[in-house]
């Protein structure tokens, strides 16, 4: 079975600084997807960034980028130029490549990292 581990329950960053959130996972599959989701106080889960395991290039989305190390089974999220609106719970998630109905929703989440941004 696949597992996802986030070893940092809480992190803090100064506004405009850079912070890195860690995530490791365990799987025997060779192809899969990895995600970072953000859950602000509004409670809505928002997709931050997605990485396909077969792609060697690290995904980037504006101020958000990942460091994907497939051999090490590591998937960290870097937030540059942190903003007050980045304060939220961040979940790392794994999904197998599936072709059955609704496979997109079969996510394995880590326990989350609560990020605080100081003005």
């Amino acid at each position: 079975a696949q597992t996802v581990t986030q070893s940092q329950p809480e992190m803090s960053v100064q506004e405009a600084e850079t912070v890195t959130l860690s995530c490791t996972y365990d799987t025997s599959e060779s192809d899969y997807y990895l995600f970072w989701y953000k859950q602000p106080p509004s409670r809505q889960m928002i997709l931050v960034i997605r990485q396909e395991a077969y792609k060697q290039q690290n995904a980037t989305e504006n101020r958000f980028s990942v460091n994907f190390q497939k051999a090490a089974k590591s998937f960290s999220l870097k937030i540059s130029d942190s903003q007050l609106g980045d304060a939220a719970m961040y979940f790392c998630a794994y999904r197998s490549v599936g072709y059955y109905g609704g496979s997109q929703g079969n996510l394995i989440f880590g326990k989350g990292t609560k990020l605080s941004v100081k003005p």
Partner: protein, 116 residues
């Protein structure tokens, strides 16, 4: 319209009550999902509907009864719940079919349920 709308936002119910949670999307998604999220925990998948048919039931107790009356609506009927069922219930949707295996999930803001 890229929203998933959940109602009500908050619900308090007794253990003998019957209530329903509602989820609606108008993005043409044919897969819809219910998740349960306890405080300070990640979401856990409960049910998956694909083309209005239940495709995954993650061994959820029968006091939770899902229903997908059409491609835009997803309901979760609640009956005889226990206090430990108090949680945030999140709905999500995504595209289905060939070419959509990597499609993103769109989440609603959830219904915060308290069972007294």
């Amino acid at each position: 319209d890229t929203e998933v709308t959940q109602t009500p936002k908050h619900l308090v119910m007794g253990m003998t009550n019957k209530k329903s949670l509602k989820c609606e999307q108008h993005m043409g998604h044919r897969a819809m999902y219910w998740y349960k999220q306890k405080a300070k925990k990640p979401p856990e998948l409960m049910f998956v509907y694909s083309y209005e048919k239940l495709s995954i039931n993650e061994s959820v107790p029968s006091r939770f009864s899902p229903e997908c009356p059409n491609s835009s609506l997803l309901n979760l009927h609640l009956h005889a719940l226990q206090p430990e069922d108090s949680a945030l219930y999140l709905c999500a949707s995504s595209h289905q079919g060939r070419g959509y295996t990597n499609e993103k999930l769109f989440f609603g803001s959830g219904t915060q349920l308290s069972v007294l």
